[in-house]
């Protein structure tokens, strides 16, 4: 059984400001597991969301079982036999497993819900999957792995010929992943075509028959897993990189340690994270999505509580219970999600910039010195060349790059010494990116120290003095900029604990 069920050709997709997919192709055969890999933002999820009817395709043809089709929405995809198990769980925690599976197409007797039939059908599905879950169990009472299984059961309930998994193992333990693989193999035996999006290189050998690599929205190649080494695949993912300019790394950095983190741990997210930040240095944090970089930053800043660990600023251990404690110690955190965590969008530029220093700008009754706030804001707007008609402009009316500069301005006003930038150039156009880079270099030249979290490897390589690489909550490597390459970083970034999956027999 190796006939083609899905054939995608010449696929183009544009989002505002970015060409997400350029002339991509993909094909899937009956009874195969076809892995789809690429760096963050390579277009894997976009391509699959087109197949699942979530995004409309701009250009290109999709052939399903020798018939050209258009897939206008997810329901159409499901009736054609294409189901997607999403990265985020889309279940309603307060409903039962079977209620979740049949949501939107409940079986009814007259006008009453027929729970019995639904439960029976769900039970059949679970038995098919060799899964011991009660259909009447509420989803919120299940482990994440079981919830994932319910998602899969839901996908299967559409009698899918094509099943798309978008990084399903992200939330699973090794044992649970092995269980998932067992189910995938069983489905494969039954002739279902399976598309498996993953970041985990070692899983490729374990589960996939073929691998398609995407890079920057472009199709790179499709190879047979057996005949290809992991190194070759990583090389295809990363590609040859052409630098716009040589790394702008000044050499004169001191050895003075301004921030030291010792054995930081927090649940499953952070495990024993230790590193040092030196004065005037940009320390890059690389890793794949979910590696624990943002979690590290938030833990240092007191945004999330930690289980254990020490944070030492300028040789003094500090207690950070909430962000205001970190701010007192001249730390600053610039979140990756400016709109949610960085700005009060409905407030003006001035209010946003002066927020961390408002108490300093006010007298004992809390009266804010408006002239001073204006002066400080105007100075920073000029210094950072924030393009805004006035400092009374609301933050939501500024462009992404200018919003980012307002957040930077906020911390410059506070005169923070240690700045943690989380994805500082995300969603910013090329020109503004360059300005942010220049700004980072200026800051370090003034003796400020910077931690820069970035998922763009060229950016990390270009800006950092040293690079910390994380994977699954651990630091897996620290590289000096003289020795760092994309390949080395990717190797550390995919270095999972124990490195290989444990095979468990079905129980």
């Amino acid at each position: 059984m190796t006939d083609t069920i899905v054939q995608m050709e010449g696929i183009n997709k544009r989002f505002p400001g970015v060409q997400a997919l350029k002339d991509c192709q993909f094909n899937l055969q009956r009874g195969e597991v076809h892995a789809l890999v690429g760096e963050n933002g390579a277009g894997k999820s976009t391509l699959m969301k087109i197949l699942a009817g979530i995004y409309a395709v701009d250009q290109g043809t999709i052939t399903l079982k020798d018939k050209k089709v258009t897939i206008p929405n997810p329901i159409a995809a499901q009736t054609m036999g294409i189901s997607m198990v999403h990265q985020e769980l889309n279940l309603m925690p307060h409903l039962t497993a079977s209620q979740n599976i049949f949501i939107g197409r409940e079986t009814k007797k007259w006008f009453l819900l027929d729970e019995n039939t639904q439960n029976k059908k769900s039970q059949e599905l679970f038995e098919l999957m060799n899964l011991s879950v009660k259909p009447t169990m509420k989803v919120r009472d299940m482990t994440v792995a079981k919830q994932q299984m319910v998602e899969i059961a839901k996908a299967l309930s559409f009698n899918a010929d094509v099943l798309i998994f978008d990084e399903p193992s992200g939330a699973l333990t090794d044992v649970e992943t092995a269980e998932l693989f067992r189910i995938i193999r069983e489905l494969k035996e039954q002739g279902t075509g399976i598309i498996y999006i993953t970041h985990r290189m070692e899983e490729l050998k374990e589960i996939s028959d073929r691998v398609t690599v995407l890079r920057d929205g472009l199709y790179v190649d499709t190879v047979n897993t057996k005949e290809t080494s992991i190194d070759q695949i990583i090389q295809m993912m990363v590609g040859r990189v052409i630098y716009e300019s040589s790394p702008e790394v000044p050499e004169d950095r001191s050895q003075e340690v301004v921030l030291e983190v010792k054995n930081l741990s927090r649940g499953n997210e952070l495990k024993d994270v230790s590193f040092q930040l030196k004065k005037g240095e940009i320390l890059g944090f690389a890793g794949l999505v979910g590696a624990g970089r943002t979690e590290t930053a938030r833990a240092i800043f007191g945004a999330d509580p930690i289980d254990s660990g020490e944070i030492i600023v300028n040789g003094k251990a500090i207690l950070v219970r909430r962000p205001s404690d970190a701010v007192t110690n001249d730390l600053a955190y610039l979140s990756e999600d400016r709109k949610r965590y960085g700005l009060c969008l409905s407030l003006d530029v001035k209010s946003n910039i002066t927020m961390p220093i408002l108490q300093k700008l006010s007298n004992w009754v809390g009266w804010v010195n408006d002239n001073k706030s204006k002066k400080i804001s105007e100075n920073l707007v000029e210094k950072l060349t924030i393009r805004t008609p006035s400092i009374e402009q609301k933050a939501k009316n500024l462009s992404g790059g200018n919003q980012q500069k307002v957040v930077v301005g906020k911390w410059l006003a506070r005169d923070a010494d240690i700045l943690i930038f989380d994805e500082p150039t995300r969603g910013i156009d090329v020109g503004a990116k360059q300005e942010i880079y220049t700004l980072l270099n200026e800051l370090t030249a003034q003796g400020k120290s910077i931690i820069m979290i970035s998922s763009e490897l060229p950016e990390i390589l270009r800006m950092s003095h040293r690079i910390v690489v994380m994977c699954e909550g651990r630091i897996t490597g620290v590289l000096d900029h003289t020795e760092a390459t994309q390949e080395k970083i990717m190797r550390f970034a995919t270095m999972r604990n124990g490195s290989h999956l444990v095979e468990t027999s079905p129980t």
Binding site: P323, S324, Y333, L345, S346, M355, R387, N397, K410
Partner: protein, 331 residues
């Protein structure tokens, strides 16, 4: 950048016009009622409207702080009553001077605010539930302290004059605007300054606009939320003084339902229930719209039950217009 700039200006202008809508509505109500009845636009009736706005206006001021910070306070009415009861206990039962009665009332309101703030910020109880609890606690305490019967202030201490006397009238003869009304205007001015010029106000907007961003900017949410609820409570304490002075007594059974009028006034005045947006001026205008409507309909001999229906419709209309305004702004 230039066309963008002009567009911004235009947007701001539209915004200002729409902000004036509540005021325009008030003016239209005045003109309409004046044409409909010769008894409406008289000095004594206008003073009557002002007096009847005082209590709800003060409660609405308190509620505005809390709503702007993204919370809600259902306890304003019964906390007001508890404040009045504290004043009565201090002045009548303990025989202390009036000033201590005022302090007791304000302290009670502020303290209830602190407790509300701690419940919301420290214990993370949703504001709706926390203040619903406080509503009942304050109501119950009022009944317990008074043993279910009203406490009357002795006439000779002149508690009544705090709201019903007229300092202004003694300075400018014939201009007998009651002190209660002056207290409302004074409080509104003070509250407006706190909201627009001090750290408390700025942080109320910041927390209501994006609590997580404010937290990550180093704003101590626990501390400032507590202060914001306490500030609201302070004005509710003043409302307790005014209502007990108007009635010359503390009526322990009073207070239920006042919270809804206060929230309605804020909402009609353009305070966003989702937080982050609103002005004191708007809230005061909102309070006046409610009392003008009630007063005018009464003069026109509209049955009281129909007055309630009209007030309800006005609230729905006001919020709908606010939504239309926001939609126009965002497009």
């Amino acid at each position: 950048m230039n066309p963008n700039h002009n567009e911004q200006k235009k947007k701001t202008r539209v915004d200002t016009i729409q902000r004036l809508m509540a005021f325009a509505a008030l003016v239209i109500l005045f003109i309409g009622f004046s044409l409909a009845s010769p008894f409406f636009f008289t000095f004594s009736n206008i003073v009557g409207i002002l007096v009847s706005t005082a209590v709800n206006g003060l409660l609405a001021i308190g509620a505005t702080f809390i709503i702007i910070s993204g919370g809600i306070d259902l306890s304003v009415g019964t906390v007001m009553t508890l404040s009045a009861v504290s004043a009565a206990v201090v002045v009548r039962n303990w025989g202390m001077p009036n000033i201590f009665g005022v302090l007791a009332a304000v302290a009670t309101g502020t303290f209830a605010g602190v407790l509300n703030g701690l419940m919301v910020a420290k214990l993370k109880i949703p504001p709706f539930i926390a203040t619903l609890g406080m509503l009942n606690v304050a109501r119950g305490l009022s009944l317990v302290i008074t043993d279910l019967s009203p406490i009357y202030f002795p006439l000779e201490v002149g508690w009544n004059r705090i709201a019903m006397g007229s300092v202004l009238g003694s300075i400018i003869p014939g201009f007998d605007i009651p002190n209660g009304v002056m207290l409302l205007f004074g409080s509104a001015l003070l509250a407006g300054l706190i909201l627009s010029k001090t750290v408390i106000g700025r942080y109320a907007f910041a927390i209501g606009s994006n609590e997580e961003a404010a937290r990550l900017s180093g704003v101590n949410i626990l501390k400032w939320k507590t202060i914001i609820y306490a500030t609201g409570g302070f004005f509710i304490g003043i409302a307790g003084v005014v209502i007990s002075a108007r009635l010359n007594s503390a009526q322990p059974a009073l207070g239920l339902g006042y919270e809804l009028d206060a929230i309605a006034a804020a909402v009609i005045g353009g305070v966003s229930l989702s937080g982050g947006d609103g002005t004191m001026l708007g809230t005061i205008i909102g309070a006046f719209i409610i009392s003008t409507l009630t007063n005018g309909l009464r003069i026109l001999a509209v049955p009281q039950e129909w007055q309630i229906v009209v007030t309800g419709l006005i609230i729905i209309l006001a919020v709908y217009l606010d939504i239309v305004r926001k939609r126009a702004k965002s497009s």
